[in-house]
Amino acid sequence: MANLRESSDKALKLLRTLPRVQIGNLRPNPNSKQNDKRGRAQHGGDKHGAGNKGSGQRQNFMRLGYETGNQPFYLRFPYEPYYKGHHLRRQYPPLSLLQLQVLIDTNRIDISQPIDIATICNSGLLTLKPAELEYGFQLTDHGLDNFKAKINIEVQHASEAVIAAVERNGGVIRTAYYDPRCLHILANPKKFFQKGVPIPKRMLPPQDAVAYYTDAKNRGYLANPEEISKERLVLAQKYGYELPRIEEDPQYEMLTAAKDGRQLFYGLEPGWLINLVDKVIVKPKET
């Protein structure tokens, strides 16, 4: 007994100098792990779990899906192309109104200027990958009730409730299409300027996106502006809020700032070349 106490004392003494017992330096209980190697000798190497006789004993592993002569399950039903062209569809990664409000509260986005893809990407918290068929951001309705900012924002997709949430605060929302090349530039404008290449022209939307971006209900950038102002009023009546008058707003100029359908950056025209080193703009002369 005394011997046992002595050894346990020794163990405890040793434990004090050892690192803390935690998940990283524990080892499995003895005999809890099975040996990976199979025995080869008379009784160690009997069946190795492969059973007695037949296909099983020969370890004749059949190919995946093969049902020993039956029509295999994976061939039993005719093919239905549910996901045809799925890998080619345009994607719009979500940006929720809550996220946007956090970005504004933490001073990552300046709401005294119009917001577009470049502003969102320059915040450093969201990225856009045009190479993975991401065609811009969609503004989603999470945090809709707590959204209180007056902004001029341009996104690529927005639902009706989101449009109402932005316009209720006296803001302006627009949905606009950018072709992948322009998206690549907008995802990192500084890198593009450093290349020393003229700003390209923005392409028009593809055929299947024209209907969306010419619809005033979606606040499309190709829609008739008069129709949009009418739809703003209609939406205000539908959701039951009084539409703030932008004409009387002190930030009228910022709120009505919009890009041309062929323009990539606010205030900068296609064909111009930006020199960041000399702080010079090279403009082609008009002929």
């Binding site: 918290l125 205030g267 082609p284």
Partner: protein, 176 residues
């Protein structure tokens, strides 16, 4: 005679053929594969504008070099709020992250079977903080006990289960 000419011609030809098959055209860098400069009158006329009034639009497109400091405001509708706790008031302190967020995270392991709530960036008396936070978690569990682990070396506390929102709200209410 004919045989000797064949022999002399053959190695050259074969070498050329092999080079054709085995080598691709060299992929030069952007600079080397760019077009050669043509005479200047072939290019369109340009105007170089110094101090252009449009330069403000360019500056707007350049990202900030460091994470901007949040400006003090009357209200923060998103629920985010700046840190108000003073490090000297309590025996412990939790620093905000570089993005000015409360460092409480959810670790999911084993395909979501195990969920751990991690409180990071703890300074000072981590054991006192663990006692306080454990009381919060246990009240959220209707008084049931909860497992926790303290790593005082790295300043982290682990709680078993998903109590991210509970702990983050509690820490915010304490001013951290």
């Amino acid at each position: 005679m004919a045989a000797t000419t064949k022999l002399t011609l053959w190695p050259k030809l074969s070498q050329q053929l092999i080079r054709l098959i085995n080598t691709q055209p060299a992929l030069h860098s952007n600079f080397r594969s760019s077009k050669v400069v043509e005479p200047l009158d072939q290019y369109p006329e340009v105007e170089i504008v110094h101090n252009a009034p449009e330069w403000k639009y360019v500056e707007r497109l350049l990202p900030p070099r460091i994470v901007p400091q949040p400006k003090p405001k009357e209200s923060y509708p998103s629920g985010w709020q700046p840190q108000t706790a003073n490090a000297s008031e309590r025996s412990y302190y939790i620093a905000r992250t570089k993005n000015h967020m409360v460092p409480v995270y959810l670790h999911t392991r084993f395909r979501g079977q195990r969920r751990l709530t991690v409180v990071r960036r703890v300074q000072g008396d981590i054991w006192a903080l663990e006692r306080d936070l454990r009381a919060v978690v246990e009240s959220a569990r209707n008084g049931k006990l909860c497992a926790s682990r303290v790593n005082e070396l790295s300043g982290q506390i682990y709680f078993h289960g998903d109590y991210v929102d509970v702990l983050r709200d509690h820490l915010k209410s304490q001013g951290f």
